[in-house]
């Protein structure tokens, strides 16, 4: 818990969160561990030495060779793991995504000179607090509203407005914490309004603006134009860029797609292509036919790893991306498996002035 010392930039919870995000756990291929185990068994004089040892050597070789060819053949490696033993069963989701792609309107409403693309996101993120023994003290969903005005020319001035709002309690409650004398620390929110060219709101100096990294998480028109126009090649590109990241290749694929769509600036043709690329992800399934995000409903396409699930939600009649959800697995102390730990809805519109909100 923070003790209110003004010199402290982070609460304990913030520090834990940063620690959690630093160097995420890479996927451990069970075959690698099986190989190591076989070596140990051989050294321990187990009877199954011959079989174990040869397997161990082979897997070790594969493990080190994989690192060398990862860049070139990332896709192959990922798919071999995913298909392991089972044929892909997600064809229903794939068929649906492909037909959604066909329904995406060919072009977006044009953004004229002086006009802006408005991207409004209402998101609910989990905030948690733990004592130093890592026991969960509280958890709640907190409303975060972010509005973004994107100019027609990337290098022109953008604007962002952000505010936090209501809380929905998952674990403990305001009253209970008060009774226990536990104070919820202020979060390092960047609430308020800010403007910057290229959307580089948090650059350290003016010189650094428009020089920041662009990519899936912050797509520039150049980045979008550089993406393959062929769905299979786009799929391969995402596989390449997500190689070795996150909890699993298919999950990370979806995470990158969600990052990209969340930006609100993905053009219609790229979006359609993206859905077709997503249809090639073998463990992608339709998880909810009527996912409700603050009153907007759509079909949820999700990937699950160890009980943890990520979903993107699409209005299948128009192909519009309307938001995302995250559902906890069994690895979060105090939070029951299946709890929705984050969800957000996004809407985009063209507005005439920076800072103005479209009518609902």
């Amino acid at each position: 818990m923070t003790d209110g010392d003004p010199r402290e930039l982070w609460s304990d919870d913030d520090l834990d969160h940063a620690l959690e995000r630093l160097n995420p756990i890479p996927r451990t291929d069970p075959r690698t561990l099986a190989g190591l185990r076989a070596e140990l068994m051989a050294a321990a004089g187990a009877s199954a030495v011959e079989k174990g040892k040869s397997m161990g050597m082979k897997k070790r070789w594969i493990a080190s060779a994989a690192a060398v060819v990862a860049v070139a053949a990332g896709v192959l490696v990922a798919q071999t793991v995913s298909f392991n033993g089972n044929p892909p069963t997600a064809s229903a989701a794939a068929a649906e995504l492909n037909s959604v792609a066909d329904r995406v309107r060919a072009t977006d409403p044009p953004v004229g000179p002086g006009q802006y693309t408005y991207v409004g996101t209402r998101a609910w993120y989990t905030a948690t607090g733990s004592d130093t023994g890592a026991e969960l003290l509280y958890a709640y969903l907190e409303e975060n509203r972010t509005e973004l005005w994107v100019p027609p020319v990337f290098e022109q001035e953008w604007m962002q407005r952000r505010a936090t709002g209501e809380k929905k309690w998952i674990f403990s409650s305001e009253a209970e914490l008060k009774e226990k004398g536990i104070e919820i620390p202020d979060r390092p929110h960047s609430n308020g309004e800010r403007r910057a060219p290229c959307g580089d709101f948090f650059a350290n100096s003016d010189e650094e603006r428009c020089k920041g990294e662009v990519g899936w998480q912050k797509p520039s028109p150049q980045f979008i134009a550089s993406l393959p126009k062929d769905a299979k090649q786009l799929h391969d590109r995402i596989r390449h860029d997500t190689q070795g990241r996150g909890k699993g290749p298919d999950l990370e694929f979806l995470v990158y797609v969600a990052d990209f769509l969340r930006s609100g600036v993905v053009p219609a043709d790229t979006r359609a292509n993206l859905y077709r690329a997503l249809a090639m992800v073998p463990t992608m399934v339709v998880t909810d036919r009527a996912a409700n995000l603050d009153g907007r409903t759509g079909v949820a396409f999700g990937v699950e790893v160890d009980g943890e699930r990520r979903e993107i939600i699409i209005d299948v009649s128009t192909g519009q991306f309307i938001g995302e959800r995250q559902i906890a697995g069994d690895d979060r102390p105090g939070i029951p498996e299946g709890t929705v730990t984050a969800y957000s809805s996004v809407r985009t519109a063209v507005v005439d002035k920076i800072g103005t909100t479209p009518s609902q």
Partner: protein
């Protein structure tokens, strides 16, 4: 890998006698129970490839030194992590290089779930943390990451590093406080001297 009923034994009471005749059986069980979490911890510190070698070396060292394990002195998990921590020190320069360069990789997946909602903010914070971790002494970094990443409690960390549990707690407190203030700690001769 098979799950055995030993899984139900609490970690702190998992203090097997390793001098018995069924060496392969006992070490097979230890591997099945502890290798995967140990691998995850080591992979976060030095990357997956180096972690493969470290896990392998840890269990081979444990096998060769099995007669030195005294179940009365601590749980077998602390003993294994102690061996791994010693081996890890050989890779410390590699670890520091990666930390100084910023984060090896960021957990992008978690960002939808973070309170520091802005990705740019959050990534800068994680990079700053990485650089601060590189400034810590080896002992301080071990205490922090054995607690945070390996999920060991203070008593176990004390067992791993061979230091008193009180020292683990005060070290952890000091390190966390300094990291929260955004500047790395300087190692001090006595933990009590650390109030600035």
């Amino acid at each position: 890998m098979t799950d055995r009923d030993d899984e139900s034994l609490p970690v702190d009471r998992d203090r097997p006698y390793l001098g018995g005749p069924d060496v392969a059986g006992e070490f097979g069980r230890l591997f099945d129970r502890y290798a995967a979490p140990l691998h995850r911890y080591l992979a976060r510190r030095v990357g997956a490839d180096a972690a493969n070698d470290l896990v392998s070396a840890t269990f081979l060292v444990a096998l060769n030194q099995r007669h030195t394990y005294d179940p009365r002195l601590g749980a077998v998990r602390s003993w294994l992590y102690g061996i791994a921590t010693n081996l890890l020190r050989r890779s410390v320069r590699q670890e520091l290089r990666a930390l100084r360069a910023g984060a090896r990789s960021l957990d992008r997946e978690d960002t939808h779930d973070t309170r520091v909602v802005d990705r740019v903010d959050a990534e800068a914070a994680v990079r700053r943390l990485a650089r601060s971790l590189a400034e810590l002494s080896d002992g301080d970094r071990d205490v922090l990451l054995l607690t945070s990443w390996a999920g060991l409690d203070s008593t176990e960390v004390a067992g791993v590093l061979g230091i008193p549990v009180g020292t683990v707690r005060s070290r952890l407190h000091r390190v966390r406080k300094a990291l929260r203030r955004g500047h790395p700690t300087r190692p001090s001769a006595r933990e009590e001297d650390c109030h600035d």
